[in-house]
């Protein structure tokens, strides 16, 4: 297993014995992200912990507004300066939250990089692809000659399988298709050979026909540079294809965690179940079922389980008590009172 978790004290044992071997590429403990807003603090991320090793893929799924993007931005450090961030974030064993802003900045691109959701707007429109790539290469290889940097830029475009890369180098972003631009963004993300790549909905803005190819490319490129990958998405198709491990995020917390196989075929949290049922798949004769209601406002989370108002299984204690973490076995856990055995009926009826 490439990814371990030590989210809750109850499950601390899962990661506690992993002391031997090299430090994990990314190790996050009890991450809290709070935005200061005029109407008071908004807690977008509420105590998230996970570990990603080189070569491993963690997928975080959840609706819009569940705190996924805020989590990624906190990890790479590009949230607005007024954001409150607590917990620890270790890159290769180095605590980045304790670094000076300058040291922290130097980790960006070199130790950790990020691919954004919308490739159409992620590139500077007034510079050529070459200028933007060369700028990135030179940033991470100080002293490299202009010619070498250009050669490296070309090589990067080849790595992300852009057809006729030499011509694309001279192009402006508006002259490239969405898929092509996303490839450029990925090329930029791997220019500094980072140990960790974060991706915020990397396929959402793309054509459906391009999505699958992009995911495979992503996987391959990640293995090429031997980086750990954290992908945030609400597309379960992506999850199934790409992930080693899946975390389900709701209301700023991980509510379920396990291997892709465990979480996607035997969901142990009502919310995960809802996400799977809301998903449309070709060749399937059931209608997608939406999860009723909307995600909670992160400004004032309701007491008890954040999902309780939308959950058809909710029992009385869900409204009053924080849901406990239930171990489902083999590293699979769920933040739900009813995770294990109280609720088998629905899963069975769906299979038949």
């Amino acid at each position: 297993m490439t990814i371990r978790t030590q989210t809750a004290p109850a499950l601390g044992s899962v990661a506690a014995d992993g002391a031997a071997g090299p430090a994990p590429a990314l190790h996050v403990t009890d991450l809290i992200t709070e935005f200061r807003t005029r109407t008071g603090p908004t807690r977008a991320v509420d105590g998230v912990s996970f570990t990603v090793n080189r070569g491993g893929v963690l997928l975080v799924i959840g609706e819009s507004g569940s705190g996924k993007s805020a989590m990624l931005r906190s990890i790479i450090g590009i949230n607005p300066p007024t954001t409150l961030i607590e917990g620890t974030i270790e890159l290769n064993g180095r605590d980045v939250l304790g670094m000076s802003p300058r040291e922290r900045r130097k980790t960006r691109g070199r130790d950790i990089s990020m691919v954004f959701q919308d490739p159409l707007t992620a590139l500077d429109p007034v510079y050529t692809v070459e200028k933007q790539l060369v700028e990135t290469v030179r940033k991470h290889h100080p002293g490299i000659s202009r010619g070498d940097a250009r050669a490296r830029a070309l090589e990067l475009l080849e790595l992300v399988q852009i057809p006729s890369p030499a011509a694309r180098l001279r192009a402006y972003p508006n002259e490239l298709s969405g898929g092509m631009r996303q490839r450029v963004v990925i090329a930029m993300a791997i220019a500094g050979k980072p140990q960790v790549i974060l991706a915020d909905e990397p396929t959402t803005a793309l054509d459906v026909t391009v999505q699958a190819r992009m995911i495979r490319l992503f996987r391959q490129v990640q293995l090429d540079v031997d980086a750990g990958l954290v992908v945030v998405t609400h597309d379960l198709g992506v999850a199934a294809e790409l992930a080693d491990e899946v975390a389900v995020m709701y209301g700023g917390r991980f509510v379920e965690y396990g291997s892709a196989e465990q979480v996607l075929t035997r969901p142990a949290h009502p919310y995960t179940e809802g996400l799977i049922e809301a998903n449309v798949r070709a060749g399937q004769d059931r209608r997608p079922r939406a999860i009723p209601g909307a995600p909670p406002s992160l400004r004032r989370l309701p007491p008890g389980c954040a999902l309780a108002p939308r959950c058809s299984y909710a029992i009385e204690s869900c409204w009053t008590q924080d849901p406990p973490i239930k171990d489902v076995g083999d590293g699979h856990w769920s933040r739900c009172e009813l995770a294990v055995d109280a609720r088998p009926a629905r899963a069975v009826s769906r299979a038949s």
């Binding site: 590009i78 691109g109 954004f116 992620a122 500077d124 429109p125 508006n174 930029m188 500094g192």
Partner: protein, 314 residues
């Protein structure tokens, strides 16, 4: 790019023809006979007719326009009987004076506006931003003639720091520079205010663009990020600067009249009040031409720096 330049220049031609027709027609429909000033009051209808014939005024309008346009193309804009000078001579001199005033005002106003806008835009919500906002809103709200009269009254009238009237470089550099100060201040104020506001807005706008996050995520310094932002923000600033330079070069009638700066604005003002039709025609035409050329230059510069604009026009 070359094709774009040629296209743009060709597009300017019909605009100029249109402008010249309007200028010509405007003067033909103005009440009063153009020859009135040339003939004695007691002239007989036959004498009047002779003069009209001599001036070509008895010809149909299109032919008169054609003659006027052809001579204008040859640089002959007619003769001001009132001033006893060729209109083109008058314009040449006035244009030179206006150019000096406009150039100094534009450089001063745009440079300061850019600086203020940059400071405000990169320090959004901070004290600098508020001060610049108030200052530029003030500068925008004060009409230039009011500011001119204010400056004239205080700095020239009360404190006697600067001369009130325009002196040109024919009268020596020292005097000329001194008498430039007040007109430049009144003319540059609006340019500065507009430039500052547009620069600030553009910078704030670009900072919220997604690619700024990409730049940060790849480890650029804040300075590096700002350079990208500035390069993106320059386009709207350039557009307004073009309009401003055009307005300044067209000669500010109010500012030039108040400070008696012998430029296009003052020339136009005097010509209108003395019904010097040839001069009004010529001045209006040159002002329009200036605007067209400035806009052409701005468009081309914009296409040179922004690939999206280039794609849209060509």
């Amino acid at each position: 790019m070359l094709r774009l330049i040629i296209r743009r220049i060709l597009m300017a031609v019909p605009i100029l023809i249109g402008v010249s027709i309007i200028v010509f027609l405007l003067m033909s429909v103005v009440p009063g006979d153009p020859e009135a000033g040339l003939v004695p009051d007691d002239a007989t209808p036959a004498e009047r007719q002779a003069i009209r014939h001599q001036l070509g005024l008895d010809q149909p309008l299109p032919i008169r326009y054609f003659h006027w346009a052809v001579s204008a193309l040859h640089g002959d804009l007619g003769y001001s009987t009132l001033r006893r000078r060729e209109v083109s001579d008058l314009l040449q001199q006035a244009w030179g004076n206006t150019f000096v005033l406009a150039a100094v005002s534009a450089i001063f106003g745009i440079a300061l506006g850019l600086l203020l806008g940059y400071l405000a835009g990169t320090r959004r919500g901070k004290v600098v931003d508020r001060v610049v906002s108030i200052f530029s809103l003030g500068g925008l709200s004060i009409p230039s003639f009011f500011l001119a009269i204010l400056l004239l009254g205080v700095l020239s009238g009360q404190l006697r720091l600067f001369p009130s009237g325009g002196a040109t470089f024919d009268e020596g550099w020292g005097v000329a520079i001194q008498s430039l100060v007040l007109p430049v201040l009144s003319g540059a104020m609006i340019t500065m205010a507009i430039t500052a506001r547009v620069t600030r807005a553009a910078i704030v706008d670009v900072f919220s663009a997604d690619f700024v996050e990409t730049l940060r995520a790849k480890g650029l310094t804040e300075f590096g990020v700002r350079m990208h932002v500035l390069r993106n923000a320059i386009s709207p600033v350039l557009t307004t600067s073009g309009v401003q330079i055009g307005a300044l070069l067209g000669g500010s009638v109010l500012v030039e009249t108040i400070f008696r700066w012998p430029g296009m604005g003052l020339l136009l003002y005097t010509a209108i009040s003395t019904r010097d039709l040839e001069v009004v025609q010529g001045t209006t035409l040159v002002i329009a031409l200036t605007f067209v050329v400035i806009n052409l230059v701005v468009d081309l510069v914009q296409a040179a720096i922004d690939p999206r604009v280039r794609g849209a026009v060509s």
